[in-house]
Every structure is written in C-alpha cells, then in structure tokens.
Symmetry: C2
Subunit: 192 residues, 2 copies
Amino acid sequence: MPPRQRILDAARALFFRHGIQGVGVEAIAEAAGTNKMTLYRHFESKELLVAEYLRALAAENVRVWDDLDAAHPGDALEQIKAWLHSVGGHGEGIDHSGCAMMNAAIQIADPEHPGRKAVEAAQRTHRERLIGLCREAGLRDPELLADQLFLLVEGSRAAYRSAGPDGPGSSLCRLAGPLIAAHQQPAPVPAT
Amino acid sequence: MPPRQRILDAARALFFRHGIQGVGVEAIAEAAGTNKMTLYRHFESKELLVAEYLRALAAENVRVWDDLDAAHPGDALEQIKAWLHSVGGHGEGIDHSGCAMMNAAIQIADPEHPGRKAVEAAQRTHRERLIGLCREAGLRDPELLADQLFLLVEGSRAAYRSAGPDGPGSSLCRLAGPLIAAHQQPAPVPAT
DNA sequence: AGTAAATGTTACCGGTGGGTAACAGGATTT
DNA sequence: AAATCCTGTTACCCACCGGTAACATTTACT
C-alpha cells in the first residue's frame, strides 16, 4: 500500500481516537510506518491533511448510500431503515464516519479551515440524498421527515458521546421508527 | 468581581469561541484581567478549570429550566415549547450553554477527564427533567417523545455547526412541533 | 547497469503549551 | 502598626508541535 494511503488511514484511526488536535503529525507518520518527511512530501500541511481525510470520509459516506441502494434496489423505505440500523448501533462493525464528520466540525474552530468546508459540503449532499429517499418512498412531508431523521441521527451520535451509552443516543431505531410510521399515515387530525 | 469568577467568565467566552484546546491558560488569565499565577492559585490545573467551567454551565442549565417553570407554572407543555424556542434560534440572546456542553464532550478526547463526567451528569439530569415534563404534560409515550426531542435539539446544535446556517439545524421548532402534536393524538393506527 | 524518483534518517528551528519558583506590592484583619 | 493573606510580575523549565534542511538510502524503470 502506498505511503499516502497508509498515512490517511493512520490519520483516520488516530483522529478518531484522540481528536484532531490531540494527534501530532509525527504520531501519524509513525503509525503509518513512515516518518514526518514523507508525510510532508504528500501533504502540504496538517490542515490540508485533515481536509483530505475529511474528503475521504465524505466519499465513503456516499459509498455507503450507494451500497444501500444496491442492496435494496427501488425500495427507498428499506434503504432508509437499513441506514438507520447501520448507524444506530454503537458496537463493532458500525460506520462511524458520520460521527467523525461531526467531531471534526466541532474540533476545528476556524470556520475558514478547508476541513470545515469539506464537512459542510458532505452534510449538504447527505441531507439531499435523505430527502430524495423520503420522497421516493412516498412518505408524507418528505423534507420535514428527512430533516427530523437527519437531526435524530446527528443527535444520537452527539448524545452517545455526551450522555454516555445509557443515554438516548443508543436507541436510534426505537426513536426513528415511530417517526417514519407516523409519516406513512394519512395527514393527522389537528389536536383540539 | 473576584478573580476566580472573572477567570471562569473569561474561560467560558474563549472556550466558546476557540474551543477548549484552542485556548491557553495564559490567554484566559489575560482576558480575565489577571495573570497565570493567580489562575493557578485558584485552579489546580487546566483540566480542573475546564471541569469547573462545565459544572458552572450545568448549573446554569438547571436555572434555565427553573426559570421556565417560574414563567409557566403548572403548564409543562408550554415550558417545553418555550425551551425549544429558546434553544431553537441561533441569533443573539440565545442560550448556547447546551451547545458548549456538547462541544466540550467532543473536544475532550479522554473519557476519564473530569469535564467529561460533568457533562455526562448534566445531560442525564437534563434528560430526566425533559421526560418529567413530557409526562406531566400528559403527552403520549413521554419517554419516547422526550428522547426524540432531546436528540432533535442535540442534532440541531450539531447540524448548525456541521451543515451551516442553511442546514436543518436552524429549524428546530418546525421539526419538533409536529412531533409534539403527534403525541397529543390518541395512539396511531398501525400502517398496513 | 545506471539513472531518477521516492523514501528514510537525523538534526534542527521557532513558537507555544502547561506549570512553577521567587520575590515585590496591596489589602485586610487583629 | 504588625502580621497575614491575596495579588501582580518576571523569569524560567520542559515538553511538544508544525515544519524544514541536508544527506543517505532504497526502489523502480529503461
């Protein structure tokens, strides 16, 4: 595997464990089985390394959606449910890339940091894909539901970190399920 | 105002703007109109300063709930709505303490950091208070609704940061309103 | 084989970070 | 007034971090 890829992989693992600010370039290089110089021959600065790390994360996020589309072709509702299930757990084999996105957005204080731009772009496309699926699934109020699901998922990731494993972050499916079900109903009768 | 309080205030402002890792103790002391030594005479270390900053934030969070209770005595539903409104906007005069809590939980990588414990405790009491209000308001499925609202709020804060002001983070009330309304209805008919 | 590109190694730089020592000045109490 | 406490000032320590220079070494390609 070329060093550039090894560096990106190592950066990903370390950024996830210790945070972006908590990892020095030297530690990344060492974890990648190389040294600081070759790192700087492939990346202009740590800033740009972070940005590329986030772009890679975004690309992988898109691939997750494509895989779901391939697994449940034509069944948008099932794609949504499968996605919720895949990001709802917090054990092994779970996709934490979205979580890493959010962490990066918070850990990078400077709004002009290229990594922040990458995250914003990824979240936009992410949201639009979700809206498209909700619409395709024939659910009522697709934009509203998509945004609700989006926030539930983001909130679940945040709550898992801030409220611990016993908090509401661990029960995404339990919380999102009724929401989807409600949007399969006809329009609700307004409350008295 | 005693130096200790000035230091906590300065720390709060700087932590919010530049992140916890992005602010050095010297900058905090200077912003507080004092110096590093007096800071270290009041706080053992930066770690413990951060922890106290978060405990102060948690106390203020509790006060927000108490104020809401005083403003709408006996009307739990109105308290919930007022709370959503107060944290839903992102302009001036908005309470960002919850947002700062979440930021801290993500910026502090070490799970054993005393600040992390403070955040977890605060989020637990926060959630329980919300559950209590949902139950008191006579809403259906109070635990479920409370957790949904909790995640919507956390997600809204995260999305405002990661997806920008045009993302779904800016429309908390629009997203939470229908959810509450749905829980004022009788039990829904299961979808076919 | 030979050449050029990519990688490894070491040492270094300037800046900054958290944290401390020692001492001087001001305020408060008795 | 005297003793005590709190504060301010300066200087310093050590560790680390992002980034670079110079040179040695390996790899790859023709």
